[in-house]
């Protein structure tokens, strides 16, 4: 399956650029990572054999992955569990060296200049907290401020901004061990951005959170991308989040890049995603297929249209064309949600 690889762009950042104008682009070229693990043989004899002569196998976690993220863009890195998303993020954050290929994050090769890269990035890894368990949240923020050498006034201003968006002040004097998951992840997000990094990596940041907090986090991320011009690479299994936040997605499975394109492209690529049910004012009007739109069936006076081929329009374009062509008295849209689309994408990608 062929996706649309974007050429690296030095697009102007929306709004204010973060971190002293560092270009927050991400370039990934042929990135691969192989892990070597020991296979344990089954049974008692097998276990003994494994002790004497362990069997080593190579597992290709990421294989020849290439993509770009422009400054100020939010890209969703999607794929089923074990697809290689986290491994990719770990290579881009500099805590894992690739076996082959190259990556640049804000102009820095992360695994070669770990500390320089650390100043340019912020990261949240799911439910793993970087806050100090026994200390009030604000004390963790102060330690991080000191580590990243953030001036006091800047730190105060940024905390104020994050407080407005994430409502932190109601619990930031509480010790981390007493926070709820949602409160903790909000604090972790703030902690990851306190030093104003141009690039942010978020590995399943909203996992296990309730809908209200999820929405708050999404609003926060949107603000960081649109208003602060941060580049965000997000992995998630939450398709509402993808639909709400990402214009572009990269889909990987079995360590390989399957598709790099917009959500519309994914919808088009992975099967029928919409139906338009139009009730004609005159049921005797002869109905013919329109370009890219097939007449799927008739249900009395109701005609059911669906996409036809690769040139099929989006549901809204199709609706416009149908209304322009026929006089309709009633119309209804059925659009497969992104979850269904991604399920189809994962299944098809798995078969590649």
């Amino acid at each position: 399956m062929k996706g649309v690889n974007r050429v690296n762009s030095s697009a102007t950042v929306n709004g204010r650029s973060s971190s002293a104008g560092v270009n927050g682009s991400i370039q990934v070229r042929g990135l691969s990572r192989t892990f070597h693990t020991t296979v344990r043989r089954p049974g008692f004899t097998g276990a003994l054999k494994s002790l004497v002569s362990p069997e080593r196998v190579a597992k290709q976690a990421v294989s020849d992955v290439t993509f770009d993220v422009a400054p100020g863009e939010l890209l969703a890195l999607l794929g089923p569990n074990g697809a290689g998303k986290s491994t990719t993020i770990k290579m881009l954050t500099g805590i894992l060296t690739p076996t082959a290929g190259e990556a640049r994050v804000a102009g820095v090769v992360p695994y070669e200049e770990r500390e320089r890269n650390a100043r340019n990035i912020g990261a949240v890894f799911g439910q793993r907290t970087q806050l100090w368990w026994d200390l009030p949240v604000r004390e963790s923020f102060a330690i991080l401020r000191d580590i990243y050498e953030v001036p006091a006034a800047e730190h105060r201003a940024r905390l104020g901004e994050f407080d407005e968006l994430l409502d932190l002040s109601s619990f930031w004097d509480t010790r981390v061990r007493h926070l709820s998951l949602g409160q903790r992840v909000r604090c972790d997000l703030a902690a990851a951005l306190l030093h104003d990094p141009p690039v942010v990596f978020l590995d399943e940041p909203t996992i296990g959170m309730d809908v209200v907090v999820k929405e708050q986090v999404r609003g926060f991320l949107k603000h960081q991308v649109e208003e602060r011009g941060r580049t965000v690479l997000l992995t998630t299994h939450d398709m509402t989040e993808v639909g709400r936040l990402a214009e572009r997605v990269v889909l990987i499975n079995h360590g390989r890049l399957i598709l790099d394109g917009t959500l519309d492209e994914i919808r088009r690529t992975f099967g029928s995603t919409w139906q338009v049910r139009a009730t004609l004012a005159d049921p005797h009007t002869p109905v013919e297929p329109l370009p890219g739109i097939a007449l799927l069936r008739r249900e009395g006076p109701q005609m059911v249209f669906g996409p036809d081929g690769e040139e099929a329009p989006t549901v809204h374009q199709a609706l416009k064309r149908i209304i322009e062509r026929y006089e309709v008295s009633d119309v209804a849209l059925d659009e497969a949600d992104l979850e269904d689309v991604m399920r189809a994408a994962y299944v098809q990608a798995g078969a590649v």
Partner: protein, 269 residues
């Protein structure tokens, strides 16, 4: 914050601040120290009831040694576990990745944190020492020279202790868990450094074995200097040996840090 403060200095506050935010932990530490001091003082006084000098040590020397050894545990074993801040816990929860995601090398973070712990522990031990001194439980140093040499030896001893604990923590990068190693270490360290009993009470082969390991340098040497078991005139070689352990362990742990980092970046945390 002063301009000259080293970057990341607040890491030094992590463990002490965690304890200050948990009064029950402080109460428990205070209670433990009080009970232990009373018990060891009574024990050694009881043991000396029938004799004036044993293994070349007077009663007051033995009590002073034992009580100081108890107070020193406050510098040696601060609780990182409750704060989920041991290396083993970071490996277990996968949060060790954050140590490698900051512009502060993990070894510097570890050292700053340990420095804070030891300064905090020293404040406790010093307060305990002054109380015991005022109560007549321990003897004061016999001269200013003894006090000075003792202070220098304590500093070197704690430095060795820091590296020993670091080696055990670094083990986690290969074994993920170090619970068993820590239990063995704490027992061996307390035994071989003279926490349970001054080393002169042990057979010669044990003392020889103890000299081949770094543990004696952590506590037995400074306390022996304090109580006069090692005279100030013989202090130089002992201090030199402590310094040698510091250098050797510094080089060894530096090597381990490098290998640990390679291991993290080959396994991805």
């Amino acid at each position: 914050m002063s301009v000259s403060a080293p970057r990341g200095w607040r890491a030094a506050r992590v463990t002490p601040l965690g304890e200050l935010h948990t009064p029950p932990r402080m109460t428990a530490a205070l209670l433990r120290l009080t009970v232990q001091v009373v018990l060891v003082a009574s024990l050694w006084r009881g043991l000396y009831a029938a004799t004036g000098t044993t293994a070349g040590l007077t009663r007051d020397q033995a009590v002073t040694y034992a009580v100081l050894a108890v107070l020193a545990t406050r510098i040696r074993e601060l609780d990182q576990y409750s704060g989920r801040d041991t290396v083993q816990q970071h490996m277990h929860f996968g949060t060790i990745v954050y140590w490698y995601l900051r512009p502060l090398p993990p070894q510097r973070y570890y050292a700053l944190r340990a420095l804070g712990e030891q300064v905090y522990g020293l404040a406790w031990a010093s307060a305990g020492y002054l109380i015991c001194l005022a109560a007549g439980v321990v003897d004061p140093p016999t001269s200013a020279a003894v006090a000075g040499v003792f202070a220098l030896s304590v500093l070197l001893g704690q430095w060795v202790q820091y590296y020993v604990m670091l080696v055990i923590d670094q083990l986690c990068f290969w074994t993920l868990r170090n619970g068993a190693a820590i239990m063995i270490l704490i027992f061996a360290q307390n035994l071989l450094s003279g926490v349970y009993a001054p080393l002169w009470f042990f057979p010669d082969w044990f003392i020889t074995l103890s000299r081949l390991l770094p543990f004696q340098a952590t506590l037995s040497v400074p306390l022996s200097l304090y109580v006069g078991r090692i005279p100030v005139s013989d202090a130089a070689p002992e201090l030199a040996l402590q310094a040698a352990w510091v250098v050797a362990l510094a080089l060894f742990t530096r090597l381990l840090w490098r290998r640990a980092a390679r291991r993290v970046i080959s396994q991805g945390g």
